[in-house]
């Protein structure tokens, strides 16, 4: 079984405990944070395991890359702390499981992996996505969502199979070596989680925004600046690949939209609260959504743009009620091409 590459000594010697001190959902004094985190590192029960809303952010907060969130998930699973009620967890394991129905299909580079979100394929169209092949579905699904369910074991079991399927049924026969990840959960899986657990990724993962940016730079002359003010909803998995957050700024600059200064942005971005609902912490989820949407509006946003469909589903309604337009990044960028 794959083991987490994590250095306990680094944590035990860590004075700042940034992972917990910067957490927006666990509020502990420095000493207590250290104490609770040490317990966690030593494999003992810790309040952190119960209080964590699985927002992934501490993966970004640890200055040493010591995978605090992956460790939390390991410990939750080992100590049977279920962030989400057990029936929901079990049902999701079946719902998102592989079907064994994948068939060989030749693809042509560039290839976008739609993850589980085949229903969003309609967004892959127009100038930016011309000539793109898409793949997706339960047999190539990264399964990283099980981080929210204290189930690293499910990811460990399924991910190698999924990577094998991607190679065997799509990339290898087509001679393709790069895979563009529609959802940055997949990108985070291949660039962060897989290396952290020693799983080899035989293709080059490319972030969707990276691909879009390159394409759009080639088509720069066709872009008509939009002139909107747009708030960006950073998804939890972007904490696994924080370097990609600056791609949002690059895309915005290219299509002539402004990313307003917000209180909850970049490192302080708030979770969409879908998983907080799943954890049955409804008041916290509601409060989180309210703060997030009010912040977008106060910053003068006209649009709220999303990378993650799940964030979109969770926030679209409150965003609309607050008088803004929810939109996926691909659609926003296509607007700059008049599409």
């Amino acid at each position: 079984m794959q083991r987490l590459r994590f250095d306990p000594d680094l944590c035990l010697k860590c004075e700042t405990v940034d992972c917990i001190m910067r957490c927006q959902y666990i509020h502990l004094e420095q000493d207590r944070a250290k104490e609770e985190h040490d317990r966690l590192v030593r494999g003992r029960m810790s309040s952190i395991l119960h209080e964590c809303v699985t927002c992934y952010a501490c993966e970004e907060y640890c200055p040493h890359g010591n995978h605090p969130f992956y460790l939390i998930v390991e410990r939750q699973e080992a100590l049977s702390v279920h962030p989400v009620p057990v029936p929901i967890e079990k049902s999701q394991v079946v719902m998102m499981g592989p079907r064994g129905k994948i068939r060989p299909r030749e693809v042509q580079a560039p290839v976008i992996n739609m993850c589980f979100f085949g229903m969003m394929k309609g967004g892959i169209r127009g100038r930016i996505f011309e000539g793109v092949s898409t793949i997706g579905g339960p047999d190539i699904f990264c399964n990283l969502m099980f981080l929210h369910f204290a189930r690293n074991s499910t990811i460990k079991e399924r991910l190698p199979v999924m990577i094998g399927n991607i190679m065997k049924f799509h990339l290898e026969p087509s001679g393709v070596h790069e895979l563009i990840c529609y959802h940055d959960e997949c990108y985070g899986t291949y660039t962060s989680w897989a290396p952290a657990f020693g799983i080899e990724v035989p293709f080059k993962p490319v972030h969707l925004f990276d691909f879009m940016l390159k394409r759009m730079l080639d088509l720069k002359d066709e872009i008509r600046p939009l002139g909107f003010t747009v708030a960006y909803q950073r998804p939890c998995s972007s904490r696994l690949c924080p370097e990609t957050d600056s791609l949002v700024d690059d895309l915005f600059a290219l299509i002539g939209v402004q990313r307003p200064k917000r209180r909850y942005e970049y490192g302080r971005a708030l979770c969409c609260a879908g998983v907080i609902d799943a954890a049955q912490r409804f008041d916290l989820a509601e409060e989180n959504r309210r703060k997030n949407v009010e912040d977008m509006r106060a910053a003068g946003a006209q649009y709220a743009v999303f990378n993650c469909p799940f964030c979109f589903w969770t926030l679209a309604e409150p965003v609309m009620k607050a008088g803004m337009v929810p939109i996926m990044m691909s659609d926003l960028c296509l607007m700059a091409f008049g599409q």
Binding site: I88, K90, Q280
Partner: protein, 459 residues
């Protein structure tokens, strides 16, 4: 020359009488497992007077009359077991009156659920009626004639037969009678304070007369909707969970479901809670109160509210619910047996276990569930068994499951709902002799020639 056919044509017009083989074939069966039986005549009356003349003719000729609405009851209750006339009521589909202030509508018996709903949405958007989850062609009268239930049965007063404010009925001997306030004054507002005679026609499966008009209660239509699903693996927890949600007084419709399909829901008890409100903050408060009522369940993480993607939520917010109609065709081949039993809430876990054992023993698939009636006074527990009509063996197995289910429902302390003729015999066999005798007296009195839907409620 067929004298009866001629007379029927004189009454309703040539276009609305048929003895053709095709028509008789179609009207000889429904989607369930009951054996077909052909009518001699299919007739579509347009007015109460035409119904009256048909019934008088049937009395004279001693020919059975079987009233039929949408024909969706699925237990053979509109199959003419002893031949005769099938009286298809669909032409009598006018909406005669809507009284906004007193919250009722008066409709002709063949008015479909879908028509009344569409009419209210268009002309009286502040009002709605309680819709069963049956396909929308099901009729208002057909549904109350079997004590149907729907999406307001939980919160607004029980079975649809309890929402009836008045009836117009053609008796088996041809008299046209009005029941309820409309018998004494012009408005159809209530069955009280008069002696309640409407019960002589509600739940009688069309064996005591032909309903020609119905006064039915309307309720406020709220602008805001939401739905919650509470999930548990513990079948025995269901009554307590239901009790708590009912007691909040915040839920419009409460349904319980257990189904092996889709596979990710197999083995889980799902309590689907629909909530409506006039205002957004009211909706939020209601949802919060319902969630709070189950806090000690979800805090242990043994059970909890399921997060739903928007498409799933949108499906569950639809009224009527289409899930059961879709499930009805899961085996393909158009067969669907939908057995229900009205029972006390605490019997739900046992009914579930029984349903699963019966279906496993008979090698068939199932969907089990219950709709809460009248704030928990009872539940309509359904055992839905889809099958392929082309598969004789599957039909045999579903029939056997149906018989076992009826027996089990009674053993558990429930009563089979809209039972087929054999199921009705089972019920009558368990009935107090004095009640049975009273039913017999009523039938003999109302229908001396035994022409109304014979073979059903045979006493």
């Amino acid at each position: 020359m067929d004298r009866i056919k001629d007379r029927l044509e004189e009454i309703v017009g040539k276009d609305y009488v048929s003895c053709s083989a095709e028509e008789r074939f179609i009207y000889s069966r429904d989607q369930g497992v009951q054996e077909p039986s052909e009518p001699d005549y299919v007739v579509l009356p347009a007015t109460s007077e035409e119904v009256r003349e048909i019934v008088l003719l049937a009395n004279e000729a001693k020919v059975p009359v079987v009233p039929m609405g949408g024909g969706l009851v699925l237990s053979g209750l509109t199959v003419p077991l002893k031949g005769g006339i099938v009286l298809d009521m669909k032409r009598m589909n006018r909406i005669l009156e809507v009284n906004e202030n007193s919250h009722y509508a008066v409709v002709e018996a063949g008015t479909s659920q879908g028509m009344l709903d569409a009419y209210l949405r268009k002309h009286h958007p502040r009002l709605k009626h309680s819709l069963p989850d049956a396909p929308p062609v099901a009729t208002i009268a057909g549904n109350i004639a079997i004590h149907g239930s729907g999406h307001l049965s939980q919160s607004e007063g029980g079975f649809h037969s309890e929402m009836v404010t008045g009836l117009e009925v053609v008796l088996p001997t041809g008299e046209l009678v009005k029941l309820g306030s409309c018998s004494t004054v012009s408005a159809w507002f209530s069955r009280a304070p008069l002696p309640d005679l409407a019960g002589l026609f509600l739940g009688w499966n069309g064996t005591t007369g032909v309903i020609t008009k119905v006064g039915i209660k309307l309720f406020p239509r709220q602008a805001h909707h939401d739905v919650l699903i509470f999930m548990t693996e513990d079948v025995d927890a269901a009554p307590d969970i239901l009790f708590r949600v009912i007691h909040t007084g915040m839920a419009e419709d409460i349904n319980y479901a257990l189904s092996p399909k889709p596979d990710y829901l197999s083995g889980f008890q799902m309590i689907v809670i629909n909530v409506t409100a006039h205002r957004e903050d009211e909706l939020a408060l209601k949802l919060r109160i319902i969630r709070e009522s189950l806090r000690d369940y979800f805090e242990t993480k043994e059970a909890g509210f399921m997060p739903m993607p928007p498409n799933m939520k949108a499906g569950l917010l639809e009224v009527p619910q289409k899930a059961l109609s879709r499930f009805a065709d899961v085996r393909k081949g158009g067969g669907f047996e939908y057995v229900g039993a009205i029972m006390p809430l605490e019997k739900i876990p046992d009914a579930c276990r029984a349903g699963m054992e019966i279906t496993e023993r008979n090698g068939i698939t199932y969907s089990l569930g219950a709709r809460i009636i009248g704030r928990g006074h009872s539940a309509m527990f359904f055992f839905a068994y889809p099958f392929n009509r082309a598969d004789k063996d599957e039909i045999r197995r579903v029939r056997s499951a149906l018989e076992e289910t009826n027996e089990e429902a009674i053993r558990l302390g429930g009563i089979p709902w809209k039972a087929e003729a054999a199921g009705q015999k089972l019920i009558l066999g368990s009935m107090e002799p004095a009640t049975y005798e009273l039913m017999k007296k009523v039938r003999t009195l109302l229908d001396p020639n035994g022409i109304m839907n014979p073979g059903n409620w045979e006493v």
